[in-house]
Amino acid sequence: MKLHEKELRVVYTDTLIELMTENSKVVCLEADLGKSSGTVPRVWDAFPDRFFDVGVAEANMIGISAGLANEGLVPFCATFTPFATRRAYDQITISIAYAENPVKIVGTAPGVTTAKNGATHMCFQDLAIMRAMPNMRVYCPADVYELRSMVKYMAASKKPEYMQLIREVHAPIFDEDYQFDPNKARVLAEGSDVTLVTTGLTTQFAREAVKSLHQDGIQVEHIHYPSVKPFDVDTLLASVKKTHAVVTAENQNVIGGLGGAVCEVLAENYPAKVKRLGAQDRFGEVGDVPYLSATLGFSAKDMVAACREMKATG
């Protein structure tokens, strides 16, 4: 079985087991959603002394992780995205970020990928709120190769970090040699008409959009941001200096996330027209991923339409 045929959560679990085998300081925490992250039962069985399910108590999971990190351990703690971020936001802010305790927070089933769990579990603001927190880094992998490299990077870094984790299988974008660097965005297609900026799930969607746009003769430059913070300013500016037009697409509210980061950088450095695709300041609902991404306006089709319009009016 090739790595990219595996679910992302399986690769997250494989990678954690590999790290925990190599490094006795790596510990795994869950808040009764370990089956969903993939760590239950495999990590629990493999490392019963370094696996802690705190129960349905996210604030406590964050505090315990902060204490463990304060003592030199490397805690990876996961739960659904809304509970991993907004539910324990002050705990993360004070016990982790302000105190500089390098905990690794994993938000599973981000945005529409929580699908049938609906609006209560569908977090569209984690990128925005985590990005607004000093000392916090914010990552969204686009495939298993990037995920694996990112998890290894996080285990080695001494910083508080947050990563979105989509659970399902993704098409491969990178390969075995991929090395994650938070300061480096990835140009996945070159072009001079319009810049398309995506992260995580929307990077997957963008592959189809880019193909379609190229067939139509629209030269789209596609940039994937595995790290929304730190944000690679240079790669964006180099592209926009060619295209003067940007479309952003994210599995998030359009306020404050990836689109927000792009607008901040451009407003201060190189003003250009930007169209932000994502949930238009609204909550989610139950549905499957194709339905929700189309309804909310960040499907491949929406990217194609936005890039075409940008080219036509540019």
Binding site: V27, D49, R50, F52, V54, G55, A57, A59, N60, I62, G63, I64, S65, A66, G67, L68, A69, N70, E71, G72, L73, P75, D90, Q91, T93, I94, S95, Y98, A99, E100
Partner: protein, 290 residues
């Protein structure tokens, strides 16, 4: 350091602590005097009779940890840290000054000797629990001490940590509740009662003790008993008096946070630090450091 055993010495130390805490707050224009003064005997006992620490090596791995979950009592902890030599006593005068290393709420990043940042209530006990768990993972034999407030115990996160610590049998964790019976808006009994607080902790699987939080022997003996408990974390419910030892504020609701608008008020409040039976208020000589 030689442990301080004599009551006279301990009383003298408490007197100095109360004067200093009051003085540095007054100079800073105000502060959380009530919950700082209620903890004086407990903090002195920990830092001069219990904790195994090396002030010249603040991050020594095998040291005992102290987490002040009610982080607003920082000034009392800072006084103990200065007396134990983590930094010079004059630094205490920088409390809350611009650019200080001694902020109102405790900060592990900027203050030598502070083991865990706290101040947003309810979080410190979870962190202490994680620290105690880390000690177990590292197979250390040290103890982890934590002080929580009574008002703070209204936070749900306290009880999340309580469940977890008992479930994982963290017998290296000793927690003290500073039960001074008051919070910002009114008496704890009037806001949301903690009672029966001893039964609550016991029902959560903790070994529970109850003490007079200003009685040297009671504090010392009970902490030792708590450290000897096996297979459970220990809770010491310490009955204390808010703003203890400052007659201007002792046991008054308005003592949680005081503002010192001018020199007259400063003189009045500093004059409030006196000891029963003594006519003259105690005064600490900053230039001589005693």
């Amino acid at each position: 350091m030689e442990q301080i055993e004599s009551k006279d010495q301990l009383d003298q130390l408490a007197k100095e602590f109360r004067y200093i805490v009051t003085d540095i707050m007054c100079r800073a224009g105000g502060g959380h005097i009530g919950g700082s003064l209620s903890l004086v005997e407990i903090i002195i006992t920990l830092y001069f009779r219990i904790l195994n620490i090396k002030p010249d090596e603040p991050r020594w791995e095998d040291r005992d940890r102290f987490i002040l979950s009610k982080g607003h009592a920082g000034p009392t902890l800072y006084t103990a840290l200065a007396y134990r030599g983590y930094f010079p006593k004059e630094v205490l005068l920088t409390l809350n000054a611009n650019g200080t290393k001694l902020p109102s709420h405790v900060d592990q990043v900027i203050t030598p000797g502070v083991d865990q940042t706290a101040g947003s209530l309810g979080q410190g006990l979870s962190c202490a629990t994680g620290i105690a768990l880390a000690s177990k993972l590292h197979k250390r034999t040290n103890n982890v001490f934590c002080v929580v407030g009574d008002g703070e115990s209204q936070e749900g996160q306290i009880w999340e940590a309580a469940m977890f610590a008992a479930h994982h049998k963290l017998d290296n964790l000793v927690v003290i509740t500073d039960y001074n019976k008051m919070q910002i808006d009114a008496e704890v009994e009037k806001i949301v009662s903690l009672e029966p607080v001893v039964d609550k902790w016991r029902s959560f699987g903790w070994e529970v003790f109850e003490i007079d939080g200003h009685d040297w022997d009671d504090i010392y003996d009970t902490i030792n008993k708590a450290m000897a408990v096996k297979d459970k974390p220990a809770m010491i419910v310490a009955h204390t008096v808010k703003a203890k030892g400052n007659v201007c504020y002792e046991n008054r609701i308005e003592c949680h946070f005081i503002s010192i608008p001018d020199e007259d008020e400063r003189q009045r409040v500093i004059g409030g630090v006196c000891v029963e039976g003594e006519e003259e208020p105690f005064e600490f000589n900053w230039t001589e450091g005693k």
